[in-house]
């Protein structure tokens, strides 16, 4: 008999997270490109600017953060695009679960495949840009929190622009203002530590930004996707 089986309680979070991680694993080369971009551009900085350690260490934190931001911006564009084209986004919109949860699953997968690798390779770049030794731990902490914010905020932009044919530039314009606080407090964390100051206050603000993004961005992205679907 139909409909007699007990309903599985599932939020959709795990299903979408697993699917996107599996997809990322299948397209390893493509998924690795933001990290490769991050590494490549950062090796160019000593060549273009100056190889002198004294001057590099002043800009190291800012440069690493700018590269991380651009690398995220590059990849967040495609967060919903392929799902939109093959019809799985439509399936996501009609699942009975609360829509923010599948979205949060997808964003988590995005962070695990871009933000986390960026964070993990950042000490290597710190070495290349002669970041002072005190800056490494704050750099790791701030990038881990900050890149999660970048993925979450980027998801809202990606959701708004998913139905546009050339949404890339618009997406950048939309999310760039929202990325500013993240980069300000991210670099402030590292610079405070390098200057020998207490680096926890800017990191705490970054944590607050992350908490607000986790709570609000999936909701905003869900709203944006509903608007997209009704057009």
């Amino acid at each position: 008999m139909l409909s007699s089986a007990p309903r599985k309680m599932n939020s959709g979070f795990v299903a979408w997270l697993r699917r996107d991680l599996l997809l990322a694993y299948r397209r390893r080369g493509e998924v690795a490109s933001p990290v490769v971009f991050f590494l490549m551009v950062s090796t160019l900085i000593p060549l273009g600017l100056t190889p002198e350690a004294a001057q590099l260490e002043k800009v190291a934190a800012g440069m690493i953060w700018i590269m991380a931001l651009l690398a995220t911006l590059l990849s967040v564009d495609g967060l919903f695009a392929s799902d939109y084209h093959d019809g799985s986004l439509e399936q996501m919109l009609i699942t009975p679960q609360l829509l923010p949860l599948p979205i949060l699953g997808k964003v988590t997968a995005h962070w695990l495949t871009t933000g986390l690798p960026l964070t993990l390779v950042s000490p290597l770049l710190g070495l290349m840009l002669s970041l002072p030794i005190d800056g490494y731990l704050p750099l790791l902490c701030s990038l881990a929190l900050g890149s999660a914010c970048l993925s979450l905020v980027g998801a809202v932009g990606a959701a708004l622009t998913v139905s546009l044919r050339k949404g890339g530039l618009l997406l950048s314009l939309l999310v760039m203002p929202l990325y500013m606080p993240v980069i300000i407090f991210g670099t402030a964390t590292v610079n405070a530590a390098v200057d020998g100051l207490n680096w926890l206050p800017p990191l705490a603000i970054l944590g607050a930004l992350f908490a607000a993004s986790v709570a609000l961005c999936p909701l905003a992205a869900a709203g944006a996707l509903r608007v997209t679907a009704s057009n």
Partner: protein
């Protein structure tokens, strides 16, 4: 007292860009019914199905499920519904089995038919671990149709389900539909094929005629 029908659609109209696509769509659907939506290309068959899934909002009219408006029973309604659209939602980088696994994982309920068995039944026995980009369009469609076998939903909305599948596939899908309605389910599908099914009704979507012009 007669029971409220499984699905009833009253005076539905949909406007897009200030022009009315269709209006005054009325029908009810009970368990055991198969409703075939007919109409010329561009007459709004897909739009009507998307209105039924709730991803579009009608301009006028109401859709009710078991006598309740959709907005009041969204969770129950969506749990009891399966929609396969124009695009089969098949991820090309995943194998048929992996595709089906996440589709089932996101569904509210499923029966205990295993994914392997479902794929065997739709004729993809030897293809379950090949990435879907190596399969044909008809095979993609079959992957999506395998969801029907695992689903517990009573309402099936199928948008052109017979596209690009072969004769055996068409016969198999028809027997699937027949079995579903025999178990108390209901189907709304849009297709240009002539179907030989018990309990088949047809609904013809007519273009909206402007009045008083």
């Amino acid at each position: 007292m007669s029971q409220a029908p499984l699905l009833s659609v009253e005076n539905l109209a949909f406007e897009r860009d200030d022009s009315c696509l269709f209006s005054a769509v009325d029908f009810t659907l009970d368990s055991g019914d198969v409703l075939q939506i007919e109409g010329a290309n561009g007459s709004g068959k897909t739009t009507l199905l998307r209105l039924l899934t709730g991803s579009l909002q009608p301009s006028v009219g109401e859709i009710s499920y078991l006598g309740q408006a959709l907005s009041e029973c969204r969770y129950n309604y969506l749990s009891d519904m399966l929609y396969i659209g124009h695009q089969p939602a098949v991820k090309l980088n995943l194998s048929a089995e992996e595709n089906l696994r996440w589709m089932v994982a996101t569904a509210a309920q499923s029966n205990d038919l295993s994914i392997k068995d479902a794929l065997t039944q739709v004729g993809l026995a030897g293809y379950s671990d090949i990435p879907c980009y190596a399969l044909s369009a008809g095979q993609h469609r079959r992957v999506a149709l395998a969801r029907l076998l695992i689903s517990q939903a009573r309402l099936w909305y199928l948008d052109e389900p017979f596209t690009s599948i072969d004769k055996q596939g068409v016969a198999f899908l028809q027997s699937c539909l027949q079995q579903h309605v025999a178990q108390g389910g209901a189907v709304i599908l849009s297709t240009h094929q002539d179907l030989a099914l018990n309990g088949l009704r047809k609904y013809k979507l007519l273009p909206h005629i402007e009045q008083g012009v």
